[in-house]
């Protein structure tokens, strides 16, 4: 992490609440849905940023939660991928109750640190667990669509690697899209580890992300990759600590944690 710049900012504009309309709902896994939102007047975002979603009950009670934006800045609609937490207050509503055509209040984009843009360059190392892949997917989608990097020549893509931890094959979010992205792009590598259940044919990793796995998958520290880690706290804590132990500059390891202190994916 770098020390903050001391440059005074111009008077900031309030991040206003907006009303989105649910345009589409895409089932991703048994527990995760992507909400595709129409949001007229959206000021745009950078890959990695999030929004606050606000629900209002009929008695006026309100609940807010943060969700990472999964869509690229270049896309016309905003996509949020929500994983259902069984004891959650907001996520079961978003995954089970919300219908196409419903309205959803949100404000954003929020967060100016866990962000990546092609101008920042690479190599890019993304490490995610569970629904923590959402902001990393925004980065990959942005990388794939950014003008000048695709599709004129694969060698012009910024080298990127994604290491993704999931409990099981069925719970790998964006599975088909990741396969398509990799097929079209020699500069992109995706490694998946399945920590609880593996299909019979599985030959990949089958344990939680550890130092040895990172040494195998990540670029050597000398390549100075830009690293983004997002997932449950235990995963993020373990990955960030292992990366630093491997010699990566802590200032280049950006983390985003979510959820309670519960188990890693």
């Amino acid at each position: 992490m770098t020390a903050a710049a001391a440059t005074p900012r111009p008077a900031a504009q309030r991040v206003a609440w907006r009303t989105a309309v649910v345009a589409d709902i895409v089932p991703e896994t048994p527990r995760a849905r992507t909400l595709v939102l129409d949001l007229p007047g959206w000021p745009g975002h950078r890959a990695g940023q999030h929004v606050d979603v606000r629900l209002t009950a009929e008695d006026g009670y309100q609940a807010q939660r943060s969700y990472s934006i999964a869509s690229a800045p270049e896309e016309a609609r905003l996509a949020l991928t929500v994983e259902r937490l069984d004891d959650g207050e907001v996520s079961p509503y978003l995954t089970d109750e919300l219908r196409v055509g419903d309205r959803l209040e949100l404000r954003g984009p929020i967060g100016g640190y866990f962000v990546w843009h092609v101008a920042i360059g690479g190599p890019l190392l993304l490490v995610g667990g569970g629904s923590g892949i959402a902001p990393l997917m925004a980065m990959l989608r942005h990388r794939a669509t950014a003008p000048g990097t695709a599709p004129t020549g694969a060698q012009r893509h910024i080298p990127a690697r994604l290491l993704y931890s999931s409990r099981s094959w069925d719970e790998v979010i964006y599975r088909d899209e990741l396969a398509r992205l990799v097929a079209d792009d020699p500069a992109l590598e995706v490694a998946v580890t399945l920590t609880r259940e593996q299909p019979e044919w599985w030959t990949g990793f089958r344990r939680r992300i550890d130092r040895m796995m990172l040494a195998e998958v990540a670029w050597p520290p000398a390549e100075r990759p830009h690293v983004f880690v997002c997932g449950p706290t235990l995963l993020v804590e373990a990955v960030a600590t292992a990366l630093v132990a491997l010699g990566h500059d802590p200032a280049r390891v950006k983390t985003e944690r979510f959820g309670p202190t519960g188990g890693a994916a």
Partner: protein, 207 residues
């Protein structure tokens, strides 16, 4: 502006215990989530020190042992994270900023209207002096009766419970008193400069 209803949303039963103690937009958690922007720094206690610096450059420094010899006090407080969770009745122990300033005054260190907290790992956050004096702020070294764990900011973190919890900087090492306000880390990345949870000052531009 009145918010539109969310069709079919009821929310959790409102807890009587939490009512009146949860700022707007917050929910109560019994867990203790961890949030930070980078890897957890680890420092040996033998290499740890804590420094106050006045506007004229006068400094006051404590080693870990010296710091532990200062009078500690218990603090019980509700804490509110800008990511929406609040945790009620957390129990800490540490040294009041009032104590640190009183010790420093003997050495001729006078504070200034603004404070910039600096930490291992490069994190910074800014606060007005008025928000860290008068029994409002501590440098804490224990949580729930145990030494503060590294992921929660150990060995020592700032505790300023009346502001959003990003102001309670983890891994604190220094406080610089300054004549001018200087935005810290999150304050330079779109978050509110002051961060009062009761006024829901989450992001830059929130009133």
């Amino acid at each position: 502006m009145t918010a539109p209803f969310s069709r079919g949303f009821r929310g959790r039963p409102r807890s009587a215990a939490a009512s009146g103690r949860l700022p707007p937009g917050q929910y109560e958690t019994r867990e203790f989530p961890v949030l930070s922007a980078g890897p957890t720094p680890r420092v040996a206690l033998g290499a740890w020190d804590f420094t106050l610096r006045g506007p004229a450059g006068t400094t006051m420094r404590w080693t870990w042992d010296e710091f532990q010899a200062l009078p500690h006090e218990p603090v019980t407080a509700d804490i509110h994270c800008v990511t929406k969770w609040s945790k009620l009745g957390t129990v800490w122990e540490g040294v009041s900023l009032d104590t640190l300033l009183a010790e420093s005054a003997v050495r001729g260190l006078a504070p200034a209207p603004y404070v910039l907290a600096g930490c291992d790992g490069g994190y910074t956050t800014n606060l007005p002096l008025a928000d860290v004096t008068g029994g409002k702020a501590w440098v804490v070294v224990s949580y729930g009766g145990e030494p503060l764990a590294p992921e929660h900011g150990g060995p020592a973190r700032l505790l300023v419970p009346h502001l959003y919890f990003w102001k309670s900087a983890k891994w604190i090492r220094r406080l610089h008193f300054q004549e001018r306000d200087q935005p810290g880390f999150w304050e330079s990345h779109g978050y509110h400069n002051y961060g009062d949870p009761w006024r829901e000052q989450r992001y830059a531009g929130d009133e």
